[in-house]
Amino acid sequence: MPEDDLERLIAAHLDDALDADEAARLHARLRADGDARHLLIAAARHAAALPRLALEPDARAAMPSPTPLPEAASARPRAPWRWPAAAAVFIATVGLGMLIRTTPPPLDLRVDGQAQIAHRAAESAGGPWLHAGDRITTSTGPATLSWTSEGTRLELAPASALTVEVASGAKRLRLERGALQAEVAHQPVDGGVTIVTPFGRVEVVGTRFAVQIQEHGSTVTVERGAVRLVAEAAGQPAVRLESGYAATLSGAAISHPVPQATAPPAGATAAGDPTAGSAQVVHVGPADWHDGAGWEGDLVDGAIRARLQSDSPVTRIILPLRRPDGYLRLARDLRCTLRLHVDQATTCALLLVCDRADGGDWLGNLQGERRLVAGDQELVLSADDLRPVAGSGLTMPPGSRIIGIAVMTWGPAADLRLHDVELRR
């Protein structure tokens, strides 16, 4: 294969323009020729990095900026089933030290913080400025969306995803997962902000509120002003939710508004007391037992019996703690009481499995241990007795959600029967 044919095929490959015969020829050459492989890798790396450099002001100044082609000529054929393929897509990490900087287009919706932006809109210029169709995802940190002309701000929690459906006027955003808090400036007659969730939508005129998507519903709390809740199911009456109240959209219905003090956690943990608005007591016993679904143990004679592990000398019970009224959260006054029976002297440990206060991924485990004598026991552990599991190096901040517990014995592994466990703060 002549060298210029290889050069043509590599560029066509990176342009997604090879036909079957050309692809086969390129692959054959790459198999046989190490230099060809290095050339492809170098070209692919440049092709990935140059769009980032091209967005930098310095690079723009250094490179002539060609006159844009008419849209029809510049549009590339895209597979319609892929959302990022609807237009030029790139991912940017926004925040301090970010690599991508752009001159703001005449728009006023921008995102700041640690977010990934998928610019789906055909008119997107990239960077932090958003158009309808753009999608923002957060992972470990929050991001702020702000309409600079009116002072409306949305704080998108970590591990969230949101799509801008309408960027101005009667603004509409689709919260796909996670949580947000909103500070909405007073809106003109043709304005407003609507947050669409999988379970219904929140319509806002001017207020401060929070939305959190949970497994079975979207919980809304209103700190100031009022919002209008509309269930996903057609024909359901809308509910006006006033400040100080919370309610849950569940698709088919809207729960009766309740004062925030007794409401589920929603996004209320993002500010103020992280343990506010969550469960105060969790009690788990044989009556709560589920077979499977993350539970481990056996229901025997009215108690939960620990299972001997096949790969280590340990008996163990696992109890997930998901509750309809919210998770218990770590607090300094946490007190754990276990009523149990062991058939011989043993070491018993209670392990709390915690995730982040905002509902993000698993964070770490806390463990407390006691040496027990044989017989019926009441084992009480306070927060001071709980330590991060050896080696994790993690500290659990107050407000972390307790999503599950494990009760274990070893040294030696005992026949453990758990009558009940209570976590209280």
């Binding site: 290889l6 050069e7 095929l9 590599i10 560029a11 066509a12 990176l14 342009d15 692809a23 086969a24 692959h27 790459l30 198999r31 492989r37 290095h38 050339l39 492809l40 890798i41 170098a42 692919a44 790396r45 440049h46 092709a47 990935a48 990095a49 769009p51 980032r52 450099l53 310095d58 723009r60 490179m63 844009p68 000529a73 590339r76 892929r82 393929a85 897509v89 790139f90 991912i91 990934q116 998928a118 992972s139 470990t140 591990a159 592990q309 000398p313 340990v314 163990r316 440990a349 499995v353 698993w362 485990n365 463990q367 241990e369 040496r371 599991v389 994790s392 599950g404 494990a406 070893w410």
Partner: protein
């Protein structure tokens, strides 16, 4: 109060809950993969070709790292882990296309991986981008314009050919030769900065 050595916490405690206690935490893993974006997207692009698919794969990779960070033992293992995952995700993304035209098989991908590691293509981050920036600025104006059309505006080779009134093959050959020249320039700059 500790009452003696716990026999094997990682195996004794809930699966997936404790196993990652000595592994990479999520934040470190995410920072690592995001800072490595140009290299990873480049790697995927060598396999899949087009930009949109490569960036879709990278998004999937980020989500995978979010979920599986506990499987990565430490930061030193992150680059290899993400490259293997990116390869898997890239091939998955090409499954539908495989009916239309051949995609790279595992033997060829092994060869590419070996070239990637042996050929010094693992340089990444700011020094690489700085070198690429300087090398671009040193290109002649017509070459800069071609780079800008392709990578600032993301225009296809065919549309560039139409716009410039040049044969498509000429555009493709020129682009690859520019990449060859840029690579030579980048390597020279990186060598100087290392010296």
């Amino acid at each position: 109060m500790r009452t003696g050595a716990f026999p094997d916490v990682a195996r004794a405690a809930p699966t997936g809950m404790v196993a990652g206690m000595d592994a990479l935490d999520q934040e470190t893993a995410m920072r690592g993969v995001l800072s490595d974006e140009p290299r990873l997207v480049g790697y995927v692009r060598a396999i899949v070709g087009d930009r949109s698919t490569a960036e879709d794969v990278f998004q999937d990779l980020v989500m995978l790292v979010m979920r599986k960070h506990a499987d990565i033992p430490d930061l030193a293992a992150l680059a290899g882990w993400t490259r293997r995952a990116a390869r898997f995700l890239a091939l998955k993304a090409l499954e539908k296309r495989a009916r239309e035209r051949p995609v790279m098989d595992s033997d060829l991908l092994d060869l590419l991986d070996a070239s990637w590691q042996d050929g010094g293509h693992d340089h990444a981050g700011a020094p690489y981008l700085d070198a690429l920036r300087h090398c671009c600025a040193a290109l002649p104006p017509h070459a800069q314009e071609l780079i800008a059309l392709k990578y600032t505006q993301g225009i296809s080779g065919q549309d560039i050919a139409t716009r410039l009134g040049r044969p498509l093959n000429t555009i493709y050959v020129t682009l690859t030769r520019l990449h060859r020249a840029l690579e030579s320039c980048v390597r020279a700059r990186l060598r100087r900065s290392d010296a």
